[in-house]
């Protein structure tokens, strides 16, 4: 797993009044001056050009910084940041002497955290809520959007509950629509704010060119859903929100995290979606990540995916029969039935995924997303086995 955040072993020259600043990493010495002044040059031994806003080197390599113009801001990164390359974007805190990679060029899906505040308290939350004023996160994002490259494929907005920002979120979406006209946006939300018709209308009025909101519905049983999200009245408001969004022709995805509390009624949930919410654009069935609250609640939540693979198959088949687009995420290919494999997506971000020794020699490895590091470390299926595809003989051997 890649370390996306860390501390500079050395950082000097940045104005301390600027608490956080974004820099695009560049390894191009011929970068035009107007762009260079906003960029951080990653020195790798060759001649160091002038005109950049920040000069960086890795630990053990820092003598190359001596070639940088005198008085210019310089920083030394730890070895764990060796993966950084041209086009990545760093958020630098000069007071804390720390950095965070907020954008990785070349990664399909970029996830941006907008807030840690939330009105739910899901048993398996991977981003446990914090009730602190963290508007700076959306503020930073507003400043980041103009820096993102036009060829960014997909942007994800997550939380906490992003709709907490109300109109500010709507404006952010409008910003991404205008400044990133080729980028699709995926918003994660519990959907409850959209029960407010006016808010749903404001959201729809953005007329985003490619926007989808992913909303969790964990059961066809309101009591069960409310229990998983730990909020009374959640189910009703979420459904109302979904209906409002669809009335306004907005794209909606339903997300289900599959674990011991949601598995029993997964097929009836599939039928509920097929009969009542047939107009949804996508259904995502997701495996458990062992982070955040999941670890503390593991006893309530853990069930070996191999043990529920028949139920999973039943639910997927129902949705597929009704032609509801459905995909399965974060399940290794050896813990689902063969019929489900075509619905599996290699979804674990490249900075998160790993494999086990048992995976050696597996014929399906290239299509399989592997594991979250948290699964490797804490809990994964007991039935991980390398799969062998039956080879088709190229020639038939005949007896001599």
């Amino acid at each position: 797993m890649l370390q996306l955040a860390g501390e500079f072993t050395q950082l000097d020259g940045l104005a301390p009044s600027v608490q956080r600043q974004h820099f695009r990493i560049s390894t191009n010495p011929a970068l035009p001056k107007p762009l260079a002044s906003e960029a951080a040059f990653l020195c790798r031994g060759a001649a160091v050009p002038s005109g950049f806003g920040l000069y960086l080197a890795h630990e053990g390599d820092q003598e190359v910084l001596e070639g940088a113009p005198t008085g210019s801001p310089k920083g030394v990164l730890p070895i764990s940041a060796v993966y950084l390359c041209d086009g990545d974007i760093l958020r630098v805190s000069s007071t804390a002497k720390s950095y965070r990679v907020v954008f990785r060029r070349g990664t399909r899906h970029q996830s941006i955290l907008l807030t840690e505040r939330c009105n739910h308290y899901c048993l398996m939350c991977s981003q446990p809520p914090r009730d602190e004023q963290d508007d700076w996160l959306i503020e930073e994002t507003e400043r980041l959007i103009p820096l993102l490259p036009l060829d960014t494929l997909e942007l994800g907005f997550t939380g906490g509950e992003p709709t907490i920002y109300g109109e500010r979120l709507v404006n952010l979406l409008r910003l991404t629509d205008r400044l990133l006209p080729y980028t699709s946006v995926h918003l994660l939300s519990n959907g409850r704010r959209f029960a407010d018709r006016k808010f749903a209308e404001a959201y729809a009025a953005v007329q985003h060119h490619d926007l989808m909101v992913g909303i969790p519905v964990y059961s066809d049983d309101p009591g069960r859903h409310n229990y998983v999200v730990q909020a009374e009245g959640a189910f009703d408001e979420t459904i109302a929100g979904i209906l409002n969004l669809k009335l306004l022709r907005q794209r909606v995805e339903i997300r289900v995290v599959v674990h011991a509390q949601t598995i029993d009624r997964l097929p009836t949930l599939a039928e509920f979606i097929a009969r009542n919410l047939l107009f949804v654009d996508h259904v995502a069935l997701m495996g458990l990540e062992i982070t955040g609250f999941t670890r503390g609640n593991l006893k309530k939540l853990w069930i070996d995916p191999y043990d529920y693979k028949q139920i999973m198959e039943e639910a997927v088949e129902i949705l597929a029969a009704y032609r509801v687009p459905v995909k399965v995420y974060n399940h290794q290919l050896c813990v689902v039935t063969p019929q489900v494999r075509e619905f599996c997506v290699q979804s674990i971000s490249d900075w998160k995924n790993e494999y086990l020794p048992e995976c050696t020699g597996c014929d399906l490895r290239a299509q399989c997303g592997g594991f979250f590091s948290s699964q490797v470390k804490y809990r994964h299926s007991d039935h991980i086995t390398a799969q062998r595809l039956i080879p088709v003989p190229l020639a038939v051997e005949t007896a001599p």
């Binding site: 209906l243 669809k246 009335l247 306004l248 107009f279």
Partner: protein, 106 residues
Amino acid sequence: MPKTRALTVDLAVYSLDCVKRSAYRFTDRFALDLKVEGNAAICTLSFDATASDQVKDIVVASFQKELLDQDLRATIRAETKDVRNLILAHAFSRTGLIGDEPLPVD
């Protein structure tokens, strides 16, 4: 000559409507003659001449079971009449969620 069976239904327990609805389901088995005396419905079931006593017993028992079911239906109808009208009215007003229908104007 068609054989008959008689049955008395207590109208304090089952409504006359219940009795008629139940009997209607058996028009292929018997013809019903109905007389109301006080708070009782006197039912005379006329069977086809070919019907054996055993068959007549079974049919009468079915008729009695049907009375119970009709009573249940009457309860459901009474309890759900208002919400039924509400839902149907909502269903046939413009909702704008099906196909290419225009959005409702508030």
